[in-house]
Amino acid sequence: MPYKILRKNQLGNSGTLFEMVLDTPLIAKKAFAGNFVLIRIDETGERFPLTIADYNSEKGTITIVFQVVGKSTTHLSNLEEGQEILDVVGPLGNSIHIKKFQNPIIVIGGGVGIAPCFPQVKELKEAGNKVYSIIGAKTADLLFWKDKFAAISDKLIITTDDGSESIKGFVTDPLKEIISKEPISLVIAIGPLIMMKNVVRATNGKAELPFIETTVSLNTIMVDGTGMCGGCRFPTIDGNFHFACVDGPDVDGHTVDFDNLMKRSTRYIAQEKISMEKYVHQCEKIHNLK
């Protein structure tokens, strides 16, 4: 049974970020912060993971947020409200463990990773925590959900790499400033691998800053999402490995070998390019028919 797109919005002003609300009553009933779904758009599509960015069990919906990067996300962005996605599988992955922490929590979202931070902030607040949100993007056009975060965070800090909005710089700048001044119980970081790597560098206790427990969310290449293929395995610095799909996606950032993971994430770059070129070519042909 295909899954209907109930709502589609563009996020920010870049034209590359989208939010979709999907009609998935059973998934919505079970979804929690940290979970993801695997999507296959149509019969010839690939399976790719997207973190659940919001959920509403009463309405029976989940929200996904994605940035257009390759063929599948481009295809998804071309679907409109009322159209259907063939397969949505989930909720997968472990839910984050929510409790009341002694000190404030810093939640950091970078780029499209801002979206999956939202349910984490929401649930942590619900449990009575003090939450500081730091959201950052390359440029102001790529920022979104500022109001949503402002409404539920005890503090919201915004950064842009180019200074086109708020603080010029990286999300790690305000992070370092806060943790040097006040005790923090937990840091949660979701964003590009390089961002998460730098967050962990700031909180690992080696940067003349206190050590802080840090979780990162891994959005790796995967096929089945149930531990069956092992394609999502990520190396840890102790020489071991785990599966992002069943051991994560939220994992202890201090154990992740980010350098290796960055290499692993580029495995299919050449094929992704071929796929994209073919899709663009097809779209042009269809466009010319009209």
Binding site: T44, R47, V223, G239, V246, A270, Q271, S275
Partner: protein, 464 residues
């Protein structure tokens, strides 16, 4: 009397088939089937039936072939086995029914598998699908978790008894290992689809994309009115050797490689979006059917050289002989008595070569096979672009960890009694999640046993 030779199915020429994913053996012609069926002596006390895990009345269906009544033959088989087109292809007949065939004592056994395949294919090609009769519906709901061979058989048997059966499948296609694991050239996916349609004709419903333990728990299903459960989720957790270099690009499990190629149809990339990347030289570690399937898929994807590295010798190899011969015909190379030590990278996180060590066979181990022991200072290097690990699977805990009361053994497999019943009265299990990796037909046997036990349990309990 001159003994008639055993008929052999025509096969695609290796020089042709290494460039395509079409099926290798082409099936019997009507004449061949007739000649082969005529070899069956219709024993008064047939031994072949005992060799079959689901006890198909083999002389019975062959008698109908002798009479050229293929329709009756397939109808008859389906009373015992709901998946004959699949079993005719992937069952290891040489160690089961054909091993027990009396003709084999003095000559070649009857080609039972080829005959089973023949009537199943005849039915499909002539669109004369035979559907076993069902008892009147009793409206008792049973949930089957997993649509692999165990689940399909259990579902079919229960549907025939009149139960309201729903299968929950994690993937978007039914068949489990039959669709994600076994390649197209050994088991065309159209055939799996067709056999599943037979089940739907019996009234079995299949819910795709539903991972039980995630979207719904067993308790949710109980609340939805299901009175009994059969868990046939397979052993879907690849064993990954934690050797140095494991996380280099180009090292993957056979599960991933085959799922990409088979279920996701990466061999049709870019028509299908799922990519697969193999490079020029591929090394597969392992000696089972999965290893050979991986090697032969890699070859068809355009590999220049494919080598299978196995730590024991040719004799201990668990793969089917037929598959081994096919692989040899196709130019797959074998490096026996060799074990991997380390995967070495090119400095840019890609695989460059595999360091291995020569082995010799010592005393027999728990499996009864002689244990391989490394030979000191015999290390050498195999240049390779891709390393595929096909050294077995373990129990996948995604479902079982959501049923904490369920009794598991120390390896995480479900413990059952001889009828497939677990320590929780309404939960039954069978196939690889109970026994560890085994064959399609043994999983089917387990599905059948469990169906009998579920029927008995429900008649004694739910019907009251």
């Amino acid at each position: 009397m001159v003994k008639k030779p055993r008929q052999v199915m025509p096969q695609q020429d290796p020089k042709v088939r290494i460039f395509n994913f079409n099926e290798v053996p082409q099936g019997f012609t009507v004449e061949m089937a007739q000649q082969e069926a005529d070899r069956c002596v219709q024993c008064a006390e047939p031994t072949c039936i005992n060799g079959c895990p689901v006890n198909v009345d083999i002389p019975g269906f062959i008698k109908f072939i002798k009479e050229s009544d293929y329709r009756k033959s397939i109808e008859y088989i389906k009373q015992f086995n709901i998946l004959p087109a699949i079993c005719g292809r992937v069952c290891p007949q040489e160690t089961q029914c054909e091993k027990e065939c009396i003709l084999g004592r003095k000559g070649e056994p009857l080609a039972i598998g080829s005959l089973e395949r023949f009537v199943a294919d005849w039915e499909r090609q002539n669109q004369m699908k035979a559907c076993p009769e069902c008892k009147p519906p009793n409206d008792i709901k049973v949930a089957i978790i997993g649509s692999g061979p165990a689940g399909l058989t259990c579902a079919a048997d229960l549907a025939k008894e009149g139960y309201n059966v729903t299968i929950y499948e994690a993937f978007h296609k039914g068949g489990g290992v039959l669709v994600y694991g076994i390649p197209e050239f050994r088991l065309p996916k159209e055939i799996v689809k067709d056999e599943i349609e037979t089940l739907e004709m019996l009234g079995v419903k299949i819910e795709y994309n539903k991972i039980i333990g995630k979207i719904l728990t067993i308790n949710d299903l109980r609340e939805m009115g299901y009175k009994a459960f059969f868990i046939g989720v397979g052993a879907g957790l690849p064993i990954i050797l934690n050797m140095p270099g494991l996380n280099l690009n180009g090292v993957l499990s056979a599960n991933e490689f085959l799922t990409r190629a088979n279920l996701m149809k990466a061999y049709l990339f870019p028509e299908y979006d799922t990519p697969i990347k193999i490079g020029r030289i591929i090394t597969v570690i392992g000696g089972g059917n999965v290893a050979l399937d991986s090697a032969r898929v890699a070859l068809r994807l355009g590999a220049e050289k494919v080598m299978v590295v196995y730590r024991r010798s040719e004799t201990e190899m668990p793969a089917r002989m037929e598959e081994y011969h096919h692989a040899l015909e196709e130019g797959i190379q074998f490096q026996f008595l060799t074990n991997p030590i380390e995967i070495i990278g090119d400095g840019d996180s890609n695989v460059k070569e595999l360091q291995v060590i020569k082995m010799e066979l010592g005393e027999p181990d728990d499996s009864g096979r002689r244990r391989p022991i490394p030979i000191k200072n015999s290390e050498f290097y195999i240049p390779t672009d891709t390393v595929i690990l096909a050294i077995g699977t373990n129990a996948n805990p995604v479902l079982t960890k959501t049923i904490p009361e369920l009794k598991l053994n120390k390896y995480g497999y479900i413990e059952t009694n001889e009828n497939g019943q677990t320590n929780i009265m309404d939960i039954f299990a069978g196939g690889d999640i109970v026994t560890g990796s085994a064959t399609v037909i043994s999983a089917m046997g387990a599905g059948r046993n469990a169906a009998i036990a579920i029927d008995k349990y429900l008649k004694e309990n739910a019907l009251k």
